[in-house]
Symmetry: C2
Subunit: 157 residues, 2 copies
């Protein structure tokens, strides 16, 4: 069966987004190495900043890794003083992970570095096209969220 | 210091791409669970399809995880018959990982599912905007690759 033009276009989008994600991860590895943190560690900081204090299980789910992988990532962050554990007030048997002040400062620095690099990359692109593309990417995220059966698209307003 | 409009825009792109990546990973988890594979496992299949036979070290670097994490992901794939090991003809002490026929078939199925879903999401978007956005995303990947100091941008033609 010959693929339809719509299917060709969907393949091309799938490929382009995949390339972009891989490149961003490559760049992230170069950036984070400077601070003595891994890409997985940086993703964990980012998730904790976004979610607030959460359990290890919740963090593992958010990072799409199993619990033992998440545990090793968190141990390294805790050792460096970027993450700490606290008892959940609602369930004293449960431990929650949270960013320390140092962890938050590192998160903000990593984010600023990423935004600075994005700014340098965007500078070479047509402003009108930048604007329409940003709208498109947000719509795409919203539509994906609806397809995913999200009750709201609060992730990507 | 008040952020410039360019900086605001770069922040917005950083945010939109991050949201999109997280959503795609959420969707991937739902899709792959049907086949009894994890998101990490699916990423490994995708990398092996793209790279051909490679060492565990190379695969770990490609997935941005440490060697022991990559090893556990690969063990699970090998157990299911999707990945196998072979001796590197150039260095008989080195083992290379590669996709089996079953692994390749699963990879192709996962990819077809992802493309099908992308097609459904794109169907609601303006065709002219789809076209210009695709071009923009490819340019963005190419420019990112050049910033990353790639000698060529063969990743994303």
């Amino acid at each position: 069966m010959h693929p339809s033009p719509m299917q060709d276009e969907a393949e091309a989008f799938h490929q382009a987004l995949g390339d972009l994600v891989r490149l961003q991860q490559h760049r992230a590895r170069d950036r984070v190495a400077f601070y003595g943190i891994t890409v997985s560690g940086a993703h964990a900081l980012e998730a904790l900043e976004r979610l607030g204090a959460v359990s290890l299980n919740r963090l593992a789910a958010e990072l799409f890794v199993d619990k033992s992988t998440a545990s090793r990532v968190v141990d390294a962050l805790e050792y460096r003083g970027w993450v700490a554990r606290t008892v959940d007030p609602a369930d004293r048997r449960a431990l929650h992970l949270y960013l320390t002040d140092e962890g938050l400062a590192l998160h903000d620095q990593l984010r600023a570095d990423a935004v600075w690099e994005m700014q340098a990359v965007l500078a070479g692109m047509d402003p009108a096209l930048r604007h329409s593309t940003l709208g498109f990417l947000r719509d795409l995220a919203r539509t994906s969220a609806l397809h995913a059966g999200a009750t709201d698209a609060s992730c990507c307003q």
